[in-house]
Subunit: 506 residues, 2 copies
């Protein structure tokens, strides 16, 4: 059970943090009791202490669910000031802060007994401007609910991810979530218009405007996007929603090499232009995982499997890579025409071995299922070591190949991800978990990524899992500035301790 | 001559800053002399001391033009450390930093005798990745040149502005420039991939990656976007370029009210969707300015002018507002069809009095000329008071109306701007400049904007002109955090003093 702490570089509870006392609980009750916002019952507490993967488990004695920013501010102020009241150098640590608890790097779960501050009760939509498309909502709103809300006005959320039914918009902003629409709508750094946050000392930082343009001083809200709960509690978010596309098309292509996949991507950008909304890839190993382990998964291109037939003679090589191209636009006829032209072009240029265009929503979903189901399928493969790296597109797939050829015990390596964003999901599986193997694989992946100026965390963040890995992707001077920012906003280090930028030992 | 300083709240040279000495000049020569990077000749120096509008004028004795980040770092380190060498609390102030010197708020010009550090000699394109569209360039590259560079590969820059022939990409990032493509490609916070900056103490902060996704710690590059030279010298930028649209269409519509203009905007978003690339508006007063003062300007819709004819009887009311709608896409046929459908729809719904679709590039340019020429036309109108505010779209035009009805000496008020972005350019003209009038108008505009939670600087920044106005658009808690950020990155306040966040008096 200690293993996950150690993997995150934490060997003991920081003795500078105090333990939650009965008088703390009384204070929390006085602020949140009326609205049922203090959770101490072990049964109710359990889900707050465990992460989505079931990999990380904390021992919080209390979880708090404020409904308003004022409640959140009162709680934070109390925790921050307590050391004055007691005259000792101790502060209760807060596992700041939990949203939907779908994070994949152990960021949203207490490491020891930190107080959990959850946005679960902050779930009100505050406003929607149907002219500009600006949505304002409390941080605990579930992404999928917001998407349904704006759909009524002909808009969509600028992000989408597998966890949409559980993750909170505040958690999305706190992790700078990427997901499936990034290629089309860009990152949250571009689409978030405003943020309201409560700082460690209880100060409410109200940057909750819905303006698309505002050049009055530094854009502080940007600091909270991707801060993973270490700089303040995001209590509300304003976000710019694009018009909802009415037509969606998907096609699935087998390509002979990663080089060809890149050329297909360039052709897609040129010919599909503004309607291109996803360009994903999966390798053969990834395809086999879904085909074998996912009930109902079907190969859309059986012609691209290897087989030895009398007629063909020797074993024909199966396609090594597949890409999924999606368009979303405002006219089905126009998009279909564009897609047709694109497909003809890449076929004629010999960039594609074979391809198929979804004829209806069911076929489109089946294609997406192949790509999205890989995570689920992998669960049937024994122990999994998951990496989420970002690389210059040209170098991206070489990491997978190098992993396969490296000199270590037999493993299986699957590579897939968001080709258009240079984001590789690299999954290694072995029959059983071995710490020794992890200690071989992990530095290899991270060093390889660093050498190619990639990112060791493209979209999942650092959390606990990769606290300590920041040096692979950021120079020391940058980490030093980050520490200054952290010290300015959370001088006592009470927000999400042990994560992202661990407190230097004293 | 002092007036512009006072308007920016500066009454005297900060005595804490020392004067550039001969030994400083010798040091600068030793670093930059070989590459001709030290400018002291008064004639050559003049353009560095004067801004684009001819409104602000400084008295720098020297301008420096480093070619490399190492040279820039050496210069900054020297300036920052000099107080140690002399044992006094003085530092030479740098007018950090000048790009193309096209800024409109006096940010790029020395207020007194600060050293000018210009990126004019840092003009190398460093790399372009034709698969991902990532461009990496030194900060002094001129925007228009970069756009031509990427055009060769089928890409375009994600921003465009009237100053493109002179402004530098570093200056664009430092001001978070908006411009004409923001509606389509979003702000620089979304499209800038990486920044390399030299801090006040000479530290090189290398955040120059080309990754689209990187969630390893706080996204520090965001702080430099819009920092207006107060946090560090941006020496290079990596930016994501979208595919270049091959088809552009423009139409020009007369609408009966601002309310109707908003509905036309919603219809455009729904029906033009992904190809909508600009939605601009101008009011009648603005139209008259270009028609009267710009040689060759022609009214595309003469039917919408007021006239008294025998046949029509009473004076028919001229259209009060005009909108310009642009589409950019990858297929002229598709875009034309979408635009046709949109026009039919808004005509049928009675939202539009009359409209015209440009039949060729010449007509399209003429329509844009009407909108873009307003700034130029205004110069013929006597004294101009210019405001660049951002407001919730619904409230936007009421500011213009309220200005016209307020109780002050006769003025003319023109309103135009980026309707789609909620960005109003408000221009007041009077026969002659009057400080008294300014002191009536300015608080009115800023307070009105603050009441509607708008921004007193949508895209031009604070610079010197609006240093001191930040409180209208940002709460005190935010300004306090900004000061902490400034103190962390530039503890001695040597970077662009008097601007954005003036040093508190001691
Ligand atoms: C099936 C599945 C698919 C996924 N797909 C993607 C994907 O495509 N792209 C992607 O980027 N991620 C993906 N994720 C990861 C995860 O869903 C995202 O990171 C999500 O944005 C987290 O939101 P949450 O509300 O669950 O946050 P949590 O898991 O509760 O918290 C995540 C981090 O944010 C902090 N935090 C949460 N709320 C706040 C707040 N209000 N204020 C301050 N800090 C806060 C926490 O302290 C923690 O560090 C996926 C996860 C799952 C389970
Ligand atoms: C005709 C015209 C049209 C314009 N249209 C628009 C428009 O549509 N949208 C818009 O937003 N702006 C517009 N502007 C304003 C201006 O062009 C932009 O702000 C532009 O981005 C400034 O770039 P520059 O290189 O000229 O910077 P400068 O004017 O030299 O500097 C501007 C500010 O940035 C700082 N700075 C410059 N370079 C650096 C660097 N390398 N590192 C750190 N700080 C630096 C300076 O200190 C100063 O504070 C327009 C200006 C003109 C003259």
């Amino acid at each position: 059970l200690q293993q996950w702490r150690q993997a995150g570089g934490v060997t003991q509870r920081d003795p500078r943090f105090s333990v939650v006392s009965d008088s703390d609980l009384q204070f929390f009750e006085s602020v949140l009791g009326d609205t049922g916002g203090v959770v101490t019952d072990p049964h109710e507490l359990a889900p707050f202490n465990k992460d989505w993967m079931g990999k990380y488990e904390g021992a919080a004695r209390v979880a708090l669910k404020p409904k308003t920013r004022e409640q959140a501010a009162a709680v934070l102020r109390h925790c921050n000031e307590r050391r004055l009241a007691r005259g000792v150098g101790l502060v209760p640590a807060l596992s700041l802060l939990q949203g939907g608890n779908t994070g994949l790097v152990g960021g949203s779960v207490p490491v020891y007994d930190e107080v959990v501050l959850s946005t679960a009760a902050m779930n009100q939509v505050l406003a929607f401007d149907a002219v500009s498309g600006a949505l304002t909502a409390q941080a605990g709103c579930i992404l999928e609910n917001l998407d349904s809300h704006v759909a009524e006005h002909g808009y969509c959320m600028p992000l989408d991810l597998g966890a949409k039914g559980s993750c909170h918009i505040g958690g999305n902003v706190a992790t700078n979530a990427g997901g499936l629409r990034l290629l089309r709508y860009g990152s949250l750094h571009g689409s978030v218009l405003g943020v309201e946050a409560v700082l460690a000392d209880g100060t409410v930082l109200d940057l909750l405007t819905t303006l698309r343009k505002d050049n009055t001083g530094y854009d502080l809200k940007q600091l909270f996007i991707g801060s993973e709960g270490t700089l303040g509690l995001i209590t509300a978010v304003a976000i710019h929603c694009p018009p909802r596309p009415s037509a969606v098309n998907v096609c699935y292509l087998a390509v002979p090499s990663f080089e060809a996949a890149q050329q297909v991507f360039v052709a897609a950008k040129q010919q599909l232009g503004e309607v291109l909304s996803a360009f994903e890839f999966l390798d053969r190993e990834s395809l086999l995982i879904t085909l074998r382990h996912l009930p109902g998964a079907k190969d859309p291109l059986p012609s691209c499997q290897a087989r030895r037939t009398a007629r063909r003679g020797p074993l024909s090589r199966a396609a090594p890579l597949y890409v999924l191209v999606e368009t979303s636009g405002s006219s089905a006829a126009h998009d279909g025409e564009k897609l047709g032209g694109f497909l003809e072009g890449v076929m004629a240029a010999g960039l594609v071995l074979d391809g198929v265009l979804a004829q209806d929503g069911g076929q489109a979903r089946a294609m997406w299922h192949l790509r999205e189901g890989i995570t689920e399928g992998l669960r049937h493969r024994g122990a999994i070591y998951k990496y989420d790296v970002s690389l210059p597109i040209g170098a991206m797939y070489r990491l997978v190949e190098d992993m396969r050829e490296a000199d270590w015990p037999p493993i299986r390596v699957a590579g897939y991800g968001h080709l258009g964003d240079g984001n590789l999901h690299l999954n290694v599986s072995a029959p059983a978990y071995s710490e020794e193997l992890r200690q071989q694989i992990e530095p290899f992946v991270y060093e390889w990524t660093a050498q190619h100026r990639g990112s060791v965390s493209a979209e999942h963040g650092l959390g606990l899992m990769k606290a300590g890995c920041i040096g692979y992707s950021k120079p020391a001077a940058a980490v030093a500035v980050m520490r200054q920012v952290k010290a300015a906003l959370d001088p006592r280090g009470i927000l999400n301790p042990y994560k992202v930028l661990p407190l230097p030992a004293e």
